[in-house]
Every structure is written in C-alpha cells, then in structure tokens.
Symmetry: C2
Subunit: 325 residues, 2 copies
C-alpha cells in the first residue's frame, strides 16, 4: 500500500513560526507553532523547528512520507535559498537550505512569507482563476506577494514585493528598516497599536484602550473594542484603512490587479477593515481602474494562508521540477 505524500510548510514570522503538513490538494493535515525568538541565533530556531516537525509528524495517523519543505520568511531569497537582513528579525544572513539539510534529505524551497501566501491563494484559495493579483499580509509587519501574468514577481534578485517598505507618509513614523514613513509602520499590527496611541495622545476621546499599555495591546484587542463600539478603536481602523487604501491605489496603478487579497492577523478584523479599504480605494484610485479591483479575504481555511502558501511553494516546485531544469 502506497503512503500519502505530504509537504512541510513553514511560516517564519516576527513573533511565531508556524509549521504544517500539507497534501497536494491544499489540505492541512496537522499544524503546530513555536516562538520565533527573533533575538536568538537562527540556528536555534531550526533546531527547535526540527523537533516540532518530528512531533507533528508522529501525531498523524496513517502512512505518509515527506516530499519536500517549503518555507516562507521575511526577506527570504528564492534564488539563493537564504534569509537576508530581515527587517523584523535580528539575523543578518541565514542559509536556510543548509540549515534544513542538517535534518531532512528532501527538496527545500524558500520565499518571502508574503510570496508564499500569494502562491497559497493561487493554488488553493481566493485567486484560483487569476493571473494578476496582489496578496497583502497584515501581520506584525506588512508584506506583499504579487502575481503578474500568472507568475510571482521575484525581481532581479528575488526581493521584489516589499510593499510594506514603500513610503505611505513622507517623513512619517520611524520604521524597523531604519527609514521613515513606510506603509508597514501604519498598516500592520504594530501600525494599529501606534495609531491607537497616537489617538490617545492627540484626542480627548474616551476609550477602554486607555487602560491597556502599548506592549500588551494587540490588533485583535483593538478589533474587539471596535466591535463593542469604542470610537477610538473604530477611528483606528478607519485611519488604518485610509493609509492602506492610499498605498493600494498606487499598487493598482503599477499592476492593474484583478483583486487584492488581505490576509494575516489585522485582516481577520474582516469587514471592519475590508469595507473601508474598498471605499477609500475607490475614492483614491485613478479613474481608469474604478470598480475593477476586488478586495477579498483569504480563501484558505482557518486563515492558515502562510503555512498553506509555504506548502504551495514546494508542491509547485516538485511539479515544475528542480530550479534551472
């Protein structure tokens, strides 16, 4: 009796690293999560990742074998199999393929976490019939995976799609990348926290969020307050949507996408974010693009966009054959 082929999908985020076993049709057969511990050396993460993957594998029933490993990470380089100068992690240069080859003897592919999310939506989710679309990941930071003519835009060196580091507000908030005014400093979980505190400082608006310290505040907590009608929380989402939509209007001018898919923690606020983003996008966009671009949530089950995307990356590689062939 033949065993089932599964791929390990790994999403390395600023806070957590999530791993899952994904079958060829995009079903997530098992999933777990470890802390990224971004301040520790990367090697320690890969040691812990190996242990977590082994435990996860043993938890599955039935016969299966590992076909490949796909990894999504900030500033991952698809061409070189590396992570280089990631904006929210303290590592400088990590050879991910070598690190994984210490433990596993299967093909390994690496890409930007947002590029992985885009492949996940293209193979298994909201973009299944599309050739031109953008996936924006609203997590700790903001990433984008861009598909044009049915292909991921990797650029000359594999680092394309850094929408989070386009400038939303010239001279604006400091960003983790060392510059000022990046979209990521506004439209991301961290951006939401900063906007809440800006409004706490600049307005007299009463809010339950005035009792929550910055370091304890999450985008989820702000969304919960908004759902209870907290006006400062509602204003935070409105401003977040306005900044994001202004940048999306630029992205539409560059790419003319059929849809923009918003995924990740902040996007799980749902209509609280998606509706004003759509409204402000239509108000901002060049007339030739009006009423042409859909704003969609992830089409992947349980919001596991990134892990399924990392799985989609390696399934795609296995089908297409190794790089350069």
């Amino acid at each position: 009796m033949s065993s089932e082929g599964l791929c390990l999908g790994v999403d390395i985020g600023g806070t957590n690293t999530v791993l899952g076993l994904v079958d060829a049709s995009g079903r997530l057969m098992g999933e777990s999560s470890i802390s990224t511990c971004a301040h520790q050396p990367a090697t320690q993460l890969f040691d812990r990742l190996h242990k977590a993957a082994t435990v996860l594998g043993k938890s599955l029933s039935g016969r299966w074998d590992l076909r490949g490993i796909g990894i999504g990470a900030p500033n991952a380089n698809y061409y070189r199999g590396t992570i280089e100068q990631p904006p929210n992690l303290s590592w400088d240069h990590v050879d991910v393929v070598s690190e994984m080859s210490r433990f596993f003897k299967v093909p390994v592919a690496v890409t930007n976490d947002a590029n992985a999310a885009a492949l996940g939506e293209m193979l298994f989710g909201s973009a299944r019939s599309m050739k031109d679309f953008i996936v924006v990941t609203l997590g700790t930071g903001l990433g984008s995976g861009i598909v044009a003519n049915g292909q991921l835009v990797y650029g000359a060196d594999g680092f394309a799609g850094e929408m989070g580091h386009t400038i939303a507000v010239p001279g604006g908030r400091e960003c983790g990348c060392g510059r000022r005014g990046c979209l990521e400093a506004y439209a991301s979980a961290n951006g939401v926290r900063r906007t809440v505190h800006e409004l706490i400082a600049s307005t007299m608006e009463a809010s339950e969020l005035r009792d929550v310290p910055f370091n304890e505040l999450t985008a989820k907590r702000v969304a919960e307050s908004a759902a209870r009608g907290d006006r400062l929380a509602l204003e935070t989402f409105d401003r977040t949507a306005r900044w994001l939509a202004a940048s999306l209007a630029d992205a539409v001018a560059y790419f003319s996408p059929q849809a923009i898919i918003l995924v990740g923690g902040v996007a799980s606020a749902g209509d609280l974010l998606l509706k004003p983003v759509k409204r402000y996008l239509e108000a901002n966009v060049l007339s030739v693009f009006k009423d042409k671009v859909a704003i969609l949530p992830s089409g992947l089950a349980n919001g596991n966009t990134a892990v399924l995307g990392a799985g989609a990356l390696i399934w795609n590689e296995l089908k297409a054959g190794p790089k350069g062939s």
Copy 2:
C-alpha cells in the same frame, strides 16, 4: 528581388505624434512628426497620420513593404486595441485598430507609449540582456513600462504601469487626472515648469527664467539655464530628481529591477538629472536594494525610444504570431 520588410512605429504624445519606419533589427529608416492636436477629434489625427505615413513611405529609396503597424499612446489598451480616457488628451474612447484599418491592411498592435518604450529598450536598447527592468518616460507627462520575468506587466485589463499616477506628494499639486500629488505633476516636462514657477514664487533667487512666461517655458530651456549655472534652474532639477527618486525607491521595493531607464524629453538633460536621481535613490532605497539598481539613459539612437518601441511592439507580435494563437 525580394523587398525589405518594415514596420510603421507611431508614438502619440500629448503634444506631437511621431512616426517612423523600423526594420527588424531596430534601424529607423525614416521618421517624421505631426502635431497631435489633442483638442480635436481623434479621427482627424488618424487622417493626418495616414497622409504623413504615405509621404514618409514615398521618401524611402529601395524596395520595401509594410509588415505591420505598432502604436504607442497614453492609456492605450493592448488587449482591446483601444485608447481609453487618456489623461492628457481630450478623447474618451478610440478604437485605434479600426481607425488604422480604414487605410492599411496589415496587423496593428497598440500599447501604452511607455510600454512601447520598454519593448524598444528590451529588443534594441539598454535592456537587451535584462528580464527585470523599468522604463520611465519623462515627456509632457510621466509613463512607465515595466518588465518582470522577461514579460511586460499589462495587468488584468492592460492598463498596468501607470507610475505617473502614483502619489508622490499626498495632497500636493493638481494633476490632469483630477487627483492631487501624482508623480507626473512633479517629474515631467510640465512638472519641471511648475517647479520653476514654485521657486520663482517662494524664493528671492535671481534667475534668467524670471523673464520666461510659463506657457513658453520648456524643460529643455530649464536644462540650458542650468548648464549656464542658473541656480534656480539647478535647484529645479535637484528637486525633480528628489521627487522622482523617492517614487523610484517605491518602485524598486515593488519590482526589484536590475535597472531603471530614464527616457524622453526631460531625461535628455542627461547627468543633470541622472546623477542626482541615482544619488537620491541610493539615499532612499530599502537597504536590501542598495547598490543594486542601475540608472541608465536610453540605449536607442537619437532618443527615438518611443517610435522604435512602437516598432518593437509590432515586430514582437509578428514573430510571436497573432494574439491568442
């Protein structure tokens, strides 16, 4: 004796429409120019274009025949063969292929003037070995033709690459598109004129340009003043470069291009523009892209980027076979 095959390349600009006969290797065998007269109905332009092409054809020595017509125009739609709501022209919707078929019985292809320029650089110019690059046309307005993975980025509806209508200065100068702060209102021939007049109004700087009325001022005239050391003219180019470079830093984050090629009237100022653009780009760009992106002039003879590009478009179509085959 067989006759030589030539294609007619046409560049419809905000001010002039240039036409030329281009051979398969990118040689421009003859060229002429007519006024676009953007305030008149488009049909009149195509009547005059037919006459000009006939005169141009008769001026060539030797035997040749017309293989196809490639047209670059603002807001041209490659998929539909139309020009739709062009920002700097008074037309609403023009079926270019039908207009040309009144006179010519050869294949006709249409694209954005900047996309045509990008194809010209890729087939015959500065981007001959590149798969990821951006051509920015700095004419009356600002256009961009973007190549990713070796293919032009047309987007879902054929209107991708509108970099001139990304927002450079939120809430800034009025733009011909009806919005505010578009890059085109800053980095273009018109943008240069507006910057000169902004500096005339806001500074006490002596300048020979204080004797030139707005409607007589050209970017070429400003470049000539700068070459003579006129400080207001020099400051104008510095500011133009700074605005353009800030937007190019965003474009680099999106596309990770190998090079950005600056073409068109304003770019003919040469190092006066290219050197500060390169310097400001390096100062602005996300660290992972530092020292990776070349800023290049057109690699096409005589600056006929747009006409050779329109020729490249149709030669490319003729080689690839008709659309959809």
